[in-house]
């Protein structure tokens, strides 16, 4: 298990528990993280790299693997392309140079490279620690490069495993809640896909790719987007550079928010529609393994109706009749339009408890392992990358590096509404190294003001050597400490993901 930028026991606890058991039962574990996460205690190697140096680390490991002839030549030959470019780029990432960039020891680099390359079943796990960087996409590709180089793909117990953050991130993508694809990842720019949907929906559809979240807010800011509908999201609390989002929402002519609570975002709405919780709705979620599972209604919806009913009624009033008997019927329409999920229906899920797509026919058993024998796009293409330093680094004025993440007890924005949970964990406890704490004269439980170029937030401090000197680590669960008022406005140019993991801040004792 090669963990990079992921803290499973807090972000995906049950997966984390299983990894811990696997490590205790003899599986080798490598943890790459600047922070002393729980699983470090179970790991064979802890690579405590400097924040933002994931690419040099991965390139350095590949450099060693190639130099020592540990690459999987057969796999590269048969299943991949663009290997020469990869080889050329990682050539300059000698162990000595990588040690310099990352702060790691040359010996550890060798040991981990050999361990990963020579282990038959090796799996890479990553989450937001990898994607929430200016070079997030490049980071992910570098993980994939490492796996392809060593043939650790397409068999059980191998692969590159992104652990999805929120419960239904996978499902929201699968359903086409994305600006470029319909459900089942059918591109809106492909005529055949568009015509199929036009026919099914009886409407002519746009063929131009739409705006991603950051572009939407930028467009709202510029007055190009005038009206928005937001379902169950609170970008003011969870998106980077919160002040920019607030300004964008203020610019809108009309905003509809469908929510459980009067959130920071809902405050900007012109109309709020009350939402129903998971206990009040039928439907499905798809987990991080593309496993479709049922959500079942246990109680009557507290606002009187389920979310799908509200959406249908609203859309019908707007002028497009949208009528379904039940979520089952919505699923069936989706499945009939999406070849990769065509074989999944509620009856099958009820019988088997869960089904993993791709599942093209009713006879198909579902697909637990992707990329067996062949990649979705045919040959796997190496996409090598040079080191891209973070968009903002500490300097004289803002000397600390701010890094953010999740804590075990909370989940974005709903858990603070749990009485039990918030009675124990009710305020932000930002982590600061003892060396810095002493310099600033703060003790655990005391308050500091954290300021970046974009905003400020007040937080309690927990003094701990879980973080490196020069770093402050904060979560983003509490509205009393709006961490995302501080985070960076630098975005990954490909996905538009905010660089939550690295920003420069200054800290003052209060």
């Amino acid at each position: 298990m090669f963990l990079i930028g992921t803290n499973p026991t807090e972000a995906h606890p049950v997966i984390g528990y299983k990894m811990r058991q696997a490590a205790r039962n003899g599986a080798k574990m490598v943890v790459c993280d600047p922070r002393h996460i729980d699983l470090v205690d179970e790991a064979d190697y802890w690579l405590r790299l400097k924040p933002g140096t994931d690419i040099p680390l991965l390139n350095g490991l590949m450099h060693i693997i190639i130099k020592e002839g540990l690459e999987d030549k057969k796999f590269i030959e048969e299943r991949t392309e663009n290997y020469e470019e990869l080889k050329a780029i990682v050539e300059s990432y000698t162990p000595e140079r990588v040690a310099e960039l990352t702060g790691l020891s040359v010996d550890d680099l060798y040991a981990v490279a050999r361990l990963y390359a020579t282990t038959d079943k090796a799996m890479i796990f990553y989450t937001l620690g990898i994607t929430e960087h200016i070079c997030g996409t490049r980071n992910v590709m570098s993980c994939a490069n490492l796996a392809m180089l060593t043939g650790h793909l397409g068999r059980p117990g191998t692969g590159v495993c992104p652990q999805r953050g929120q419960n239904n991130v996978q499902g929201a993508c699968d359903m086409g809640a994305l600006p470029n694809v319909y459900s089942g990842y059918q591109a809106v720019t492909v005529d055949a896909a568009r015509e199929k949907h036009e026919q099914a929906w009886g409407a002519s559809l746009p063929n131009k790719v739409g705006l991603k979240i950051p572009e939407m807010f930028a467009a709202a800011h510029d007055g190009k987007v005038k009206a928005m509908y937001i379902l169950g999201e609170n970008p003011v609390l969870t998106d980077p550079d919160a002040n920019h989002i607030r300004a964008a929402l203020e610019h809108l002519e009309f905003l509809v928010v469908q929510e459980l609570f009067l959130t920071e975002t809902a405050q900007y709405a012109d109309v709020i529609l009350p939402a129903a919780s998971f206990a009040e709705c039928d439907g499905t979620f798809s987990n991080t393994e593309r496993r479709v599972q049922r959500v079942r209604k246990a109680i009557e919806p507290i606002p009187g109706q389920a979310n799908w009913q509200t959406i249908c009624q609203m859309v019908t009033r707007i002028g497009y009749p949208m009528n379904y008997d039940s979520p089952k019927e919505i699923w069936d329409e989706m499945a009939s339009l999406s070849p990769s999920m065509a074989g999944i229906n509620y009856d099958r899920i009820d019988q088997q408890n869960s089904i993993q797509w791709p599942c093209p026919t009713l006879e198909h058993p579902g697909t637990p392992v992707l990329h067996v024998g062949k990649f979705t796009r045919g040959l796997g293409s190496f996409q090598p990358s040079e080191h891209i330093p973070p968009g903002e680094m500490p300097d004289a004025e803002y000397p600390f590096l701010l890094s953010t993440g999740r804590i075990l007890q909370h989940y974005n924005v709903t858990t603070p509404y749990s009485k039990g949970i918030s009675s124990i964990w009710n305020k932000e406890m930002s982590e600061l190294n003892p060396v810095d704490a002493e310099k600033l004269g703060v003790k655990t439980g005391e308050q500091v003001k954290v300021t970046s170029r974009r905003g400020e937030a007040v937080t309690q401090i927990k003094v701990t050597d879980r973080v490196l000197p020069g770093v402050i680590w904060m979560s983003f669960h509490y509205n009393a400490t709006p961490t995302n008022a501080l985070t960076s406005h630098h975005l990954d140019p490909i996905t538009g993901t905010g660089e939550y993991k690295v920003a420069a801040v200054k800290i003052e004792k209060l």
């Binding site: 953050g165 949907h197 746009p206 609570f261 246990a298 699923w331 989940y411």
Partner: protein
């Protein structure tokens, strides 16, 4: 004889029935697969085997002792009797000894209906104990919002200790003291809240008695009054399944479901104890319309009329791409599908995204 995957199959006789079981399995497992239920207190299929409670003893021809079936491997030609007079006698004695030091307040115990001790006492007609002895008088640990710990009801089966170590790896529980004072508890015997507990609740899920119970359900329902609705956790991408415990049309708690494909009975603090946000008094219950900067309650019709008017007006005036929708990684697949259909087919724009990137 070879079975599936080349594992050798062993033939034996259990209660006069011919049974086949893969080599290496135990008599208890073989019996279970044949539909014969052997009572057990410390055995748990998800945990390591202890063989300590001895309630699962059976008689095996040619063996003068009564071995514990949970740790006895099957052997070719074995003849097993799971309910012989000697076995029943042994079980009665174990149960009598156990309840000698167990509060008999079953009529008010939250676990009643799902308590193994009560189940087997009933099965073997054990009403009271001929053994008179000292009883524990432990203080109930009510230190935290999630778990009530009444060690007076503990039968020292060790399931909680094993679950904490083997399912979660928190290593928060172990045995202290010896003899009568032996206790399954936290290091230094502190209340849960002061221990290294991560409140995953695995210990509660495996406890066979009323020693560990869910606080939210305390006094609200006997187990047979509870409807269990199986669902998927709304908190992270792991996709754990569990049952919502419903009584009188209200959710009162979460119960593990061993059939969950991803997680079995394991959960984390969020999934097991975070559900109560659904009853937070700040839940919105009616549509709200902002008038002069203030939200006012409105009917669904008023809300829909205003939305229809404004969305259509803005679309007509500025074109389809002046609209954008943000869907949700917290909502169901079906809701997400409708939101993108709405944006594309009705508003005429592909400006639809969700917070996958956050």
């Amino acid at each position: 004889m070879k079975g599936v995957m080349g594992v050798e199959l062993i033939k034996l006789i259990i209660d006069g029935k011919e049974v086949e079981a893969p080599a290496g399995s135990t008599v208890l497992q073989a019996a279970e697969n044949a539909g014969i239920n052997i009572p057990r207190l410390c055995y748990d299929p998800e945990l390591s085997k202890l063989g300590a409670c001895r309630l699962c003893v059976v008689e095996i021809e040619g063996n003068r002792l009564l071995p514990a079936s949970c740790v006895t491997p099957v052997m070719q030609g074995m003849v097993v009797n799971t309910e012989s007079p000697a076995v029943i006698e042994a079980r009665r004695t174990i149960l009598e000894l156990t309840i000698a030091n167990h509060p008999l307040d079953c009529m008010t115990c939250d676990k009643m209906g799902d308590c193994k001790l009560a189940e087997y006492a009933y099965r073997y007609g054990v009403k009271e104990s001929p053994f008179e002895g000292e009883k524990h008088d432990y203080v109930i640990d009510d230190s935290n919002p999630f778990i009530i710990r009444d060690l007076n009801k503990c039968i020292l089966c060790g399931a909680c200790v094993r679950a904490c170590e083997e399912m979660t790896g928190a290593d928060n529980l172990s045995y202290l003291n010896r003899g009568f004072h032996r206790k399954a508890t936290t290091a230094a015997d502190v209340p849960y809240i002061d221990s290294d507990c991560v409140f995953c609740g695995q210990c509660v899920a495996v406890c066979p008695t009323g020693a560990l119970t869910e606080k939210t359900m305390s006094g609200l329902a006997r187990r047979w009054d509870i409807d269990r609705v199986r669902t998927t956790c709304p908190f992270c991408g792991t996709g754990c399944n569990f049952d919502l415990a419903v009584k009188d049309k209200k959710v009162i708690g979460v119960l593990s479901n061993p059939d969950s494909p991803v997680n079995g009975r394991s959960l984390c603090v969020k999934g097991r104890f975070g559900w109560d946000y659904i009853y937070n008094e700040n839940r919105l219950t009616t549509p709200l319309i902002k008038k002069n900067g203030k939200f006012e309650h409105a009917s669904w019709d008023e809300a829909y009329d205003l939305i229809a008017l404004k969305f259509n007006e803005i679309k007509d005036k500025y074109g389809p791409d002046s609209f954008a929708a943000l869907s949700s990684a917290r909502c169901t697949n079906e809701e997400n599908f409708l939101v993108q259909k709405f944006s594309r087919a009705v508003m005429g724009t592909n400006n639809v995204d969700h917070c996958a990137r956050t």
